[in-house]
Amino acid sequence: MTAVQPLIDPLTMQVLLSVAAALVAVGVFGALSQQSVVMVMMGLELVVNGVLLAGGGAWAAISPTRPDGQVLVVMGLVVMAVEMAMGFAVVLAIYRARQVDMVDMATDLSG
């Protein structure tokens, strides 16, 4: 049985995955360090951005004849849309109720 040729070589995929890891790390830093709720959301977006890239890279290098990698990218896009919509809705609700726009002021659920 002859193997199907991947679209990119493993070295290119490793570079892609390293870039994705950098995007995830920068996003984690932003989500943990920012005080503004909107900036925290931007950090989470960067994390998902890395996931999109990793999914596409893995699809092209490992199994371009199967749709799994592409479906993972679609899921990532949906997660991003849901996070954005719910994040803005929560920001609006808590700002309207208590004039809160910083995570340090919304510690109701902290242990």
């Binding site: 870039v19 890891a21 995007l23 360090s33 596409g56 592409q70 809705a89």
Partner: protein
Amino acid sequence: MNADAVAVSGVVDLVGVGALGAVAVALGVAVFVVDSMARATFALLGSFVAVAGLLWTLGLAYLGAVTVLMMTVEMAVMAVFMVAFMMNPAGLMPMTMVHAGRSAAAVATTVFVVLVVGVWVVDWSAVVAGASTATGDGMGPTGSAGAAMVEPTLQVGRAVMGSHMLVMLVVGVTLLATILAATVLATDRGRYDRFGDDLSRRRPDDPVTGGLPR
């Protein structure tokens, strides 16, 4: 295409991927470095566009286009929210809005090191070989010499309407629930909340009394 041409093509791919990747990461870092929140928003958009370009170079033209279109609108909305909610939307007053910066940097560095070590330690040639001989999913022949590469957009379209339809079902219900929940959360208390369904209440039913009368 001879071997030399393949090798040159591979180098070009690698250089292009590395350049676009560097742009994506640099703009991602810029999001948390620039003073202006409007600039931060557009830096994030630039990072997404660079990643969309990378997806495009991988042959995923449809997903790349969706990423660009979605993120352009999303970042436009985010810019409006930035101006509405941030204290310093234009960056005219230098200020820092960071807490636990050192521990956050330590966690981010650890995440990066662990992921990169994993990426460069794994024997990917064995993974690729294992995947290429795996059983197909009914979407066409896989693992054989005649395994024609299906056009990627057709492939994902067939998948979400066929073998991966559960994903499509979950995504559809999730997006519907998001629309409803976000609308409920973002909508202010209206007159029917304050004065009842038939608007007959004399005093408004407010969480904090003293609001405007009818």
